[in-house]
C-alpha cells in the first residue's frame, strides 16, 4: 500500500494518468510491444518464406530443414515466365559451348533445358489487371451513385431493395458457378473478359453499395443543401460537394472490391480457360505439370501480390479512416 503513494523518481512532464506512471505500467507497455512484434513476425512468416522461396534454386527450395541463408537466383522467375523443353546430352553440350546465350537461356541450360517460348503467366497477370481493374471501377462508380440515392431519396421499398442487393452476396461462389457456367456458355460470355468483368462487378456492387451508403449517410445533408441554395443542380452538388467528402469511403471500397476480384478463384477456374484466364487459377495448375517447381510458384505468387500491395499502400491514408467504416469522419 505504501508503494502506491510513492512519487515516481522522475518528473512527469507529459500528459498521462497517475496510474500509468511508474515501473509496472512501463513493464506492461514493454510486454505488450513485445507480444505485438512476435505476433507480427508469426503472421509474416508465410509471406517471407514465399518471398525467399521465389529466389531459391530447386534444391534449396525443397531442402529440409528450409535454408534461411542461400544464394539467390532468378531461376524461379525464369521458369515462371517461360516454357521449356528437356535437352538431349548432345544438344546440351552443343549449347554449353556457345557464349552468346541470354541470361534466361543460361539459367535454363543449367537445368538441362532450353526455352521454347513465353509462358502464359504474363498474359494471365494482364488479364487479372484488366478484369479486376475495370470491374472495380464500375462497381465503385455504380455503387456510389446507388448508395447516394439510397441515402438521400425516399425510394419506395428501399429496405427490400437494399436486402435484395445484399442477398446477391449470400450464396457461396461454388454453388452458383455451375448455373453461371451454363448461362455464360449459352450467351457466349464464357472465357471472355467482358463476362468476368460483369460477374465481378455484380458481385462487388452489393458490397460497395452497402459500404458506401454508410459513408454517405455520414455526410451531412447541409453540404448539398448549401450547394443547392447557392445555385447548383443536384448532380453538380453531388459531383462538387458529396464526392470529395466521400473520398475516404470510395478509397476503402475500391481496395475491398479490388482485393476481392483480384483474389477470386472459384469463378475464374470454372469460367475461364485460355483467353480470359486470370492469375489465381493459373498458379495452382502449375502444381500438376511435371515436377513441382516451388520456386516458380512462389515467384508467381510474389508477382501476384505486388499490384494489390501498391494500391493499398497508395490509399493507406484513407484506409486508416476507412476501416472504421465511416465511424470517424474527416473533419
Amino acid at each position: 500500500m505504501a508503494a502506491a503513494n510513492q512519487s515516481p523518481r522522475y518528473y512527469v512532464n507529459y500528459s498521462t494518468r497517475v496510474d500509468k506512471v511508474g515501473l509496472r505500467p512501463q513493464i506492461n507497455t514493454a510486454v505488450r510491444a513485445t507480444v505485438a512484434v512476435i505476433v507480427t513476425v508469426i503472421m509474416l512468416i508465410p509471406v517471407i518464406w514465399m518471398g525467399m522461396t521465389a529466389f531459391k534454386n530447386r534444391p534449396d527450395a525443397v531442402s529440409v530443414p528450409p535454408k534461411v541463408f542461400f544464394e539467390p537466383t532468378l531461376e524461379g522467375f525464369v521458369f515462371l515466365l517461360t516454357d521449356r523443353r528437356q535437352l538431349t546430352a548432345a544438344e546440351d553440350e552443343q549449347l554449353s559451348a556457345r557464349n552468346d546465350l541470354s541470361y534466361f537461356e543460361q539459367v535454363a541450360l543449367e537445368r538441362g533445358q532450353s526455352i521454347i517460348g513465353q509462358s502464359a503467366f504474363p498474359s494471365q497477370l494482364i488479364n487479372s489487371l484488366i478484369i479486376s481493374g475495370v470491374s472495380t471501377f464500375f462497381s465503385v462508380a455504380f455503387g456510389v451513385l446507388a448508395a447516394y440515392a439510397f441515402s438521400r431519396f425516399n425510394i419506395p421499398g428501399k429496405d427490400d431493395l437494399l436486402f435484395f442487393i445484399l442477398s446477391q452476396r449470400m450464396l457461396p461462389a461454388v454453388v452458383v458457378t455451375i448455373p453461371i457456367f451454363l448461362m455464360y456458355r449459352e450467351v457466349g460470355l464464357h472465357d471472355t473478359h467482358l463476362g468476368m468483368i460483369l460477374l465481378y462487378t455484380a458481385f462487388n456492387l452489393s458490397f460497395s453499395v452497402w459500404l458506401l451508403k454508410g459513408f454517405i449517410d455520414e455526410i451531412p445533408r447541409e453540404y448539398e443543401e448549401a450547394a443547392l441554395v447557392d445555385g447548383y443542380t443536384r448532380l453538380q452538388a453531388f459531383r462538387k460537394v458529396v464526392l470529395p467528402q466521400a473520398v475516404t469511403g470510395i478509397a476503402a471500397t475500391t481496395v475491398f472490391a479490388l482485393i476481392f476480384s483480384w483474389n477470386e478463384y472459384a469463378f475464374a477456374l470454372m469460367l475461364t480457360s485460355d483467353v480470359a484466364r486470370t492469375a489465381p487459377p493459373s498458379i495452382p495448375i502449375r502444381l500438376g505439370t511435371g515436377g513441382i517447381e516451388w520456386a516458380a510458384i512462389a515467384a508467381g505468387s510474389l508477382l501476384f501480390l505486388i499490384p494489390v500491395v501498391i494500391v493499398t499502400f497508395a490509399l493507406r491514408k484513407h484506409l486508416l479512416r476507412g476501416v472504421t467504416f465511416g465511424a470517424i469522419r474527416k473533419g
Binding site: 451531412p220 443543401e225 473520398v247 474527416k330 473533419g331
Partner: protein, 367 residues
C-alpha cells in the same frame, strides 16, 4: 432585396403537422426572427422558404413572384446553416467563391467580390485556410461571406450562432445585426434563444406546436404577450402568472392578497370573465414587482434571493408552491423567511383568460 410572403403555408409529415397553416408577410429589408422551442416548426418554415422542403399546401411569394415550386437555386436566396456547412475540401476562399462559380461569373469578378466581402467581414487573413483549422466564429464568418457574396434577395439563417461558444455568440450577434443594417437585406433568422431574438429582430414570430403564437416587435411580445405560452416563453424568468379571482375591481391572489385592477381593464374583465366565474390569470414581469412600498397591497415570504450580478432576483412565496419572481436592486439583501409587503406596477399588469389562455385586452375583451 425582397419581400417574402407566405400564404396559408402548411407542412405535414404523414398525419402530423410540422407547420400549421401560416400567413406571414416579411417586408423588404426586415429582420424577422422565428423563435420557439425545438420541434415547433420554425426550421421547417425556413426550409420551405428556401425550397429545401416542399410545402404541403400554400403559396410562397418572393417579391410577388410565386416560387412555391421553384428549385432552391432559382429563388435567389442564401441559407446559413447552424453547423456552417462549409466544404472541408476547399479553402475559405474557394468556399466563398463557390456560389459565384454556379452563376459562371468571370474569374476576375469573383476574386474582386470575394475580396470585398472578406474585407467587410474582416476575414482576409484566413482566406487560404481550410475550414477545419478555423475557430467556430471564423467558420461562421466564412459561411456568412459565402451567403453575402452573391447579394441574394434574402438571407435565411438557421440558428447560425447555435454552434458557437458563448463568448463568440455575443460578438457575432452584433456583427450579423450590423451586416443586416448595412446591407438592408431581408433576413429570416431562426433561433430558440429568446435573447438573440429580442436583440436582433425587427419583428419576432413566436411558434409553438407547429403554430404561430404571436407576431410582433420585441417590445410587443415582451410587454403584451398574446397568450400564456408567449408570456412564459419570453423573459428569463418568464412572466409571473398567478391564478386569481376577479371581483369588484380587485383581483384576489393566491394567499389572500388583493391587488387593485387598473381602471382601464375593469370593463374588459367584466366582459371577458362572465363565463369563467371571475377566475383570471394575472401576469406581470419581474421588474413590475415593487417591494417595501408603504402602501403595498400584498405580502409574501422571501423564498430565495439570488444575486445575478447587476441585479438580484427575489423569489416570494405567496402560498404553497406559488412563487413569484421580482427583479431588485443588488444593494439590498432580503433575509429568507422575512415577510415582505409588495405591490405590482399597474402599468405592467396583464390579464389572461384561464380557459382560452389568451390575453384580455383593454378594449375588446379576449383577443
Amino acid at each position: 432585396m425582397a419581400q417574402i410572403e407566405l400564404r396559408q403555408v402548411e407542412k405535414k409529415f404523414g398525419e402530423s403537422f410540422a407547420v400549421k397553416p401560416l400567413d406571414l408577410t416579411i417586408q423588404n429589408g426586415e429582420f424577422i426572427v422565428l423563435l420557439g422551442p425545438s420541434g415547433c416548426g420554425k426550421t421547417t418554415t425556413l426550409r420551405m422558404i428556401s425550397g429545401l422542403e416542399a410545402v404541403t399546401t400554400g403559396t410562397i411569394l418572393l417579391d410577388g413572384r410565386d416560387v412555391t415550386w421553384a428549385h432552391p437555386s432559382d429563388r435567389d436566396i442564401a441559407f446559413v446553416f447552424q453547423f456552417f456547412a462549409l466544404y472541408s475540401h476547399m479553402t475559405a476562399r474557394e468556399n466563398i467563391a463557390f456560389p459565384l462559380q454556379a452563376q459562371r461569373v468571370p474569374r476576375a469578378e469573383i476574386s474582386a467580390k470575394v475580396a470585398e466581402v472578406a474585407r467587410m467581414l474582416r476575414i482576409e487573413h484566413i482566406l487560404d485556410s481550410k475550414p477545419g483549422s478555423l475557430s467556430g466564429g471564423d467558420q461562421q464568418r466564412v459561411a456568412l461571406a459565402r451567403a453575402l457574396v452573391r447579394r441574394p434577395a434574402a438571407f435565411l439563417m438557421d440558428e447560425p450562432l447555435g454552434a458557437l461558444d458563448a463568448e463568440f455568440r455575443e460578438g457575432m450577434r452584433a456583427e450579423i445585426k450590423q451586416l443586416h443594417i448595412r446591407q438592408e437585406a431581408t433576413t429570416v433568422y431562426v433561433t430558440h434563444d429568446q435573447i438573440e431574438a429580442m436583440a436582433m429582430g425587427d419583428r419576432i414570430v413566436i411558434m409553438s406546436k407547429a403554430q404561430v403564437q404571436q407576431v410582433g416587435t420585441p417590445h410587443q411580445v415582451y410587454h403584451d404577450p398574446a397568450n400564456l405560452f408567449v408570456a412564459r416563453f419570453i423573459g428569463s424568468p418568464g412572466m409571473n402568472l398567478l391564478n386569481a379571482r376577479y371581483s369588484d375591481g380587485k383581483a384576489i391572489l393566491p394567499g389572500g392578497s388583493a391587488v387593485t385592477v387598473p381602471g382601464a381593464y375593469r370593463a374588459a374583465l367584466d366582459h371577458a370573465l362572465n363565463d369563467s366565474d371571475g377566475a383570471v390569470i394575472v401576469g406581470f414581469r419581474p421588474e413590475a414587482l415593487r417591494v417595501n412600498v408603504t402602501d403595498g397591497e400584498c405580502s409574501g415570504v422571501v423564498y430565495a434571493d439570488d444575486l445575478h450580478g447587476g441585479y438580484s432576483m427575489l423569489h416570494l412565496e405567496l402560498a404553497d408552491d406559488v412563487i413569484i419572481h421580482g427583479r431588485m436592486s443588488r444593494d439590498t439583501a432580503h433575509p429568507i423567511g422575512e415577510t415582505m409587503v409588495f405591490d405590482i406596477d399597474p402599468a405592467m399588469m396583464r390579464f389572461f383568460h384561464p380557459k382560452t389562455e389568451l390575453a384580455i385586452h383593454i378594449n375588446g375583451g379576449a383577443a
